[in-house]
Amino acid sequence: MWLGADKKEFEAFLDSADVYWRKNLGSTPSRNYLLVEVFHQDIRVAMRNLAVANAIRRIVPAQLVVVTGVEQMWHDALWTEFDVKLVERIAAAYGASQVIDLYRLVEGPANSATPSSVPVELFGRPLTPGASISEETLAEFVSATYCRVTKRPRPPENPTTDPRYRRRQALARAISSAYDALLGTGSAVALVTSHVDYDHWGLAVDSARRAGVSVVHTQQTGCLKAYALFPENDTGEHTFRGELTHQIGAFFEQRVWSRRAEVRRNAELVAWRSKVNLGRPSWWRGGASASVDITSSEERARLRTHFAARLGFDPARPVVAVFNHAVSDAPGTNHQSFPTLADWFEETAQFASTATEVQWLFQDHPSQFRYDSTDFFDSVARRYARHRHMVFQPSKDLSKNGLWSLVDLGVTVRGSVSNELPAYGIPVIQAGWSEWSECGLSTVVNDPETYWKALDAAISAMLNGEEIISAEQVERARLWLWFYRSATDLFTPQVPHWEVWPADYLLRAVRTSFRHIESDADPVFEAVERMWTRREPVLTRTDLQVPGGVR
């Protein structure tokens, strides 16, 4: 655990958490248990997982089992410091009965000839692994993890020649079998996880889904946000996020769109507030004070001339902006039209080089350096350096005002621009699914063929001066902003907002909550109970009932 906190503050926090949970939850004789992962070094992530887990334990009596651990390759790729000892102490304070160091558990088997036989013990009893993962799925997880830890957009031709790949393979096999043992016993109540991709997170989700265990996925933004996939709602056809995409789409249609008249003004307020940067998932733009100051077409036209001159564009011709992703970020986590994010980007650039009637702005992801070590974006940029109608640049080089005044059409796979831009009347094509892709705010395509058709259609419409975004899409996009930032963002004193940082402030705020606020009617208990008992796909701030009263 990486923690730039004062020792005293941390001890006081642990102490108060321990007392709080002992009095509010107590011990249970039940042999059932709830699995929570703490693989992320940020205490804010761990805190969210543990808070949701304990709220579930108030409804379903169960032991708390925490899996954690760190491994060299992940450490090199991501962490600055990861201290398993600290995780153990936090877990104990939140009432965990057992903490499993996953990587210590699988290290031996992964180095042996039979990586899939991992001896897992829980409460002193050995567990027998359940049905194992399919080879195909396992290979996908290995490849995604390998790309991520080696920071490359796609695996090489023959990855097995790389010892790092073989190590990830052995580890994945061992990890998957450990999770099969932990989640396949029939006593596991739920899995609470902060991530659903890569080996130590994704394989847990996969094991849980196969074993029919509910999965709760907490989010790293806002106060407390979580999605949940319950076995009875799981069709098994898509990835975890793919399943949720459908369910969130339906939930949005039924509970939000239907009451649009009622929440319209609230949605307007969120839309107004979203003009500045509201934090993760951040829409990083140039300038620390990224805000949108323009409010009309005339103002946009004035700025457009200005920014077009800077990029060498003709302000009179349409501009299409393509937002590159962090190329190794969770490959295949949700449905994508193209095999990899890199394929999508390269082929779109190829398409753009022939579509000279419009101008193309390629924006790179601001955190790309954490995800790519192969110079992918610049290599594509060099290929088209001679094309005057294509500009490649890091997204931080253009302010939010500049972006909004230039872009006539946004293109992404699952980037958050696809819910931001439509809220302000800029159309977006999504070459893949995301949380909001079924809420009807963007044009979503499922395969390359329809993608090219959609691009062609949008380009000719822009050239003819036709409208490609409807008033309904804008309204839906603003409602999504409200849904995302307000309706599904639960505020509870024991999980302060993500922006409450540095660690000392956070710990003091949580300690105050544990020590001084009576726990009755803490919204987190009520909200988690609502989600759990009604099997809803998302944690909600208030009871969003279906209009008409039937549930």
Partner: protein, 361 residues
Amino acid sequence: MAIGAWFATEFDEPVPARELPAMFASGGDPEVLLADQVARGVAILGRVQGESGAVVLKVRTGGRPVRVRVDLHVDGASQTAWSRAAAPARGMRELPRLVMVRAQGSDRAAALISRQRGRLRMVEAHAWVEFDLRSDEVGDDGLLIIEVVDGTPPPWAATALSPLAAIGVRINQVEIVAIEEGEQRGGSARLAGAAAQLAGFVSAGGLVGARGRGQGHPRSRFIVVNATDTTVRCRVRISAATAPPAAVRQPSQKWLRRQQGQTVLKAFRVAQRGAGYALFEASPFTRPPHPDRLAVRAVHLVGGTECRVSATTQTEDTLDVVIERAAPGPVLVGLTERDTPGVRRRVAETVCQVIELECRR
């Protein structure tokens, strides 16, 4: 419906346009919009955060031509912001900044801003630029875009001027007044150096102090001439000054970034300045070159073409530089020594100061 129609929400309040004459002196005013990479100020308009920065001012000109006056300012925080972005290597010096002020998308005037190096402290510098806009340049929308960008110096001056010059520059205030149709700035005028810099006709490092009243010591061998007249005569005094100080660098060690570390660094910088001055006073190699030994070059900053310039020696240390401009826009004038420099570069450098400016029609 064109894109932009949905930019406003119910919670956006209509922004009024300001009437002429208008003075914009606070970034907190509703008529000030930030277009690009500028941090809003409270007592000033804002500070440029990136390689360029732009603000949009809402002003109702009523179809009249206007005169715009911009106050730019470089202080210690400007240098800190600059070093964060430019990451200067050890041994790099704090060089003069050449910035271009653009309005409505085209270059209008340039400024050369450089902090005066006092015996112990660096003194902040103010530069003013002034330019006219035609009646059709600010439309009915009332939006005036003022942008501060890097000037593009010619190769012969590039190494002596700061890269990423616009980062950290403060835009203190912008004043807009209506003028008569066809009214020209300047005219046949003869001004002293400080007055010429205050009026925005020339820029040679800017005026010094927080309010910027005097010319201070000379500090670079460049002058930017913004006067619009075709022929401009500039009398400059040649002297030697201590070499510019080392550029402010971001401390690499964590403890140096803390309060105490910063105090140590500050004391170190002050000592360095003092030592530089002592060395300068003691060194026998700090006599300024005779004006005859100097070559004068000039370039149009818009377009980058050479500008006709001639120089006549007046006295032992003064030189008359006559610029005959072929195109409108600011001109950068630089002095270089014809043969091996007489001053030791590490100790001192040749600098000049405008003492008189005469514009002729």
